[in-house]
Subunit: 392 residues, 2 copies
């Protein structure tokens, strides 16, 4: 099968290298502004004009590894409508334009796959759909952001504060110069949207799912967790209970009996729960050139070989109607820290300790939405605040 | 697709239930000596004559969930030669007769799948072959025996001795009446044989792989591990280094930085390492009716839908020549306990402590084969001895 790669950066070049190990895949064209250093010998494959790819009838499949939303949205839609299959690693695109991309795929009778868009090198989305072939899924959850996991793990180990741990992660290449989308939970939110839609044949959008990141965590929070045997992780959660779908992104703390507690460095751990299979978890590299690149090529091979994964899998087609999120039915006990008890705070507090004017609290069981609203309010009024769901 | 199930016990009935959730699978016949209680409404499907299945041309695929070797070997070979695809959960059979079954499958132009034979409900073998499509695997390892993991976990938690922990596991149904094959490492050995052959296109047999179980572990060993922050697991290891294949089954101890340290109860955790994907681990239920039953049906669906998983996957066909195991090149540091220093023991000891006449030792780095030979010798002379590889 002749294919093209759009965007020859970290993931695109990883896909190019992985394709060398696969049977029957020829990379005919590469869309990028310039030839990537080290790839001068294939300079003739490079083009900066999308029409060179669209108009090439030999190219049956296009890999999109550009990043961003606007340009890939236009290019991917064009490719799909022209009947070219698309494999994309672009979580921003898939999360933001899920319905639209699926409609374009249907229009062009083309296939759309995006296993690398959540979990990087982990065959998470592929196995998630595969599990549904003879099981009923009830829950997905996981650590899906390597940057946050690296920062939290290093804070647990060194006792550093958030700013220093972030700076070190940036120095080592585990965090970007602008880390906002990672540390504020937006990246995790996108992977939550994608996983939720595939797991539950839903069609939820980013604005429906409350998401909190880790940027307000302090060395004192971590110290409190360490001394109580807990480990803090940024989690995505999505669950169907009594026919209602809930989904949210928030920090959570895990006792030593949980596998999540032992996920170190920049690794990911993603879990599905099925009525038959029980709890099934996948651990590995959630990012990086070679891991994510091979995941791209796995999707390409599946399309080439016609691996359909049975009825609900097909082309990852979403449920026709928008799904509703019912987080009010999800009650959790939360750890939270603040410096100024208001009536709203006092009402939800079960236990607390005060050290140097800072309140370390355990909440009564409260709905997810209530805690997220409180956190949003505290951010607006610029008061110190951090919370984490105590994972049972 | 019309299929038959041979052996309607724990796994066979789990497969029957999982098939209800799958599209396009009809279970036409069930081979068993009697109708299973609760299944009287499908009594007409039951037969005790294998020829009712072989001679039924509508039956395209046969599931084998009988257990044992001799009878399923005869039946499975017959089915394959008659051109019926086979899915089996029987690790004893696949480990013992790998070459023979593959030859029968080739003769009948039938497919043979056995994902449930290692990892139970975990899609381990499937993903292992899938990973090879665009990666080079260098290692597989894992906790693949739930019984041993349950016993070890309960010893770590309660401080119980081995015999009491085993008796409790038997009471709760996590260990069989005759637990020999689990606790002596034979079950893990079989899963090691199967995983090694699929990972490295090898054709190794059970007698080539040294295997030690956990039956000689003591409460004092566990106490020593606990106080040093280590957790003991029974592991399979298989690795290719410098073109040489090594494989062995032995107890190992893990520091808290390893995911294995946090695998509780009767769960499994199985890992592959690939040059592209890096470390990829799968966690879940390694046994049980519903988990293993759905894994059987996943293989059935793949055969029905023609999921081939590319060149090396095909029908799991083994390398033509027997592979050789080179464990002498694998050096490890071991923990070991004995009560009587001989010259052989003194030579390999690096550090030791003596408590009440018992020697708790750390070895110099020594080849795997040397430690296994020592353990074998100590068993023959009936002296107390236990060892565990210190996993780096």
């Amino acid at each position: 099968m002749k294919i093209a790669i759009m965007g020859f950066g970290i993931v695109g070049s990883g896909a190019y290298e992985a394709a060398k190990l696969a049977d029957g895949i020829e990379i005919k064209k590469i869309l990028d502004l310039r030839v990537r250093p080290g790839y001068e010998d294939i300079a003739d494959k490079f083009t900066s004009d999308i029409n060179d790819i669209i108009s090439d009838e030999e190219i049956e499949l296009v890999v999109e590894t550009m990043g961003g939303v606007d340009v890939p949205r236009e290019y991917v839609t064009k490719c799909l409508k022209a009947g070219k299959h698309v494999v994309t690693s672009n979580k921003n695109l898939v999360s933001a334009c899920y319905q639209e991309l699926n409609e374009a795929a249907a229009e062009g009778n083309a296939k759309l796959r995006f296993t690398p868009a959540a979990g990087g090198g982990i065959p998470w989305l592929f196995n998630l759909r595969r599990a549904k072939r003879c099981d009923v899924l009830t829950e997905v959850r996981g650590i899906v952001n390597g940057t946050c996991n690296y920062i939290l793990d290093s804070m647990h180990k060194s006792g550093a504060n958030f700013e220093d741990a972030l700076a070190e992660a940036q120095k080592l290449g585990y965090a970007e110069k602008d880390p906002t989308s990672d540390i504020e939970g937006t990246d995790t939110l996108r992977k939550c949207v994608i996983s939720t839609n595939l797991a539950f044949d839903a069609n939820v959008t980013e604005d429906q799912i409350p998401a909190c990141g880790i940027s307000s965590i302090s060395a004192e929070d971590i110290q409190f967790f360490n001394s109580n045997g807990y480990t803090c992780k940024l989690m995505m959660y999505s669950k169907v209970m009594d026919g209602k779908l809930s989904a949210y992104v928030e920090p959570a703390i895990f006792g030593p009996q949980h596998l999540e507690a032992n996920v170190k460095a920049n690794n990911n751990l993603i879990t599905l729960v099925g009525e038959n299979v029980g709890t099934l978890s996948f651990f590995g590299q959630g990012a990086g050139s070679a891991p994510t690149g091979q995941s791209v090529i796995q999707d390409v091979i599946d399309i080439k070989d016609g691996v359909e994964m049975n009825a609900p899998f097909h082309d990852y087609f979403p449920a026709a109607e928008t799904s509703f999120i019912a987080n009010e039915s999800q009650l959790h006990t939360y750890y939270f820290r603040h410096d100024h008890p208001s009536r709203m705070i006092t009402e939800i507090t079960d236990k607390f300790a005060v050290v140097d004017g800072t309140y370390y609290c355990i909440s009564k069981p409260i709905p997810v939405v209530e805690m997220h609203e409180l956190a949003k309010h505290m951010k607006q009024v610029e008061r110190p605040f951090f919370f984490a769901h105590i994972h049972e």
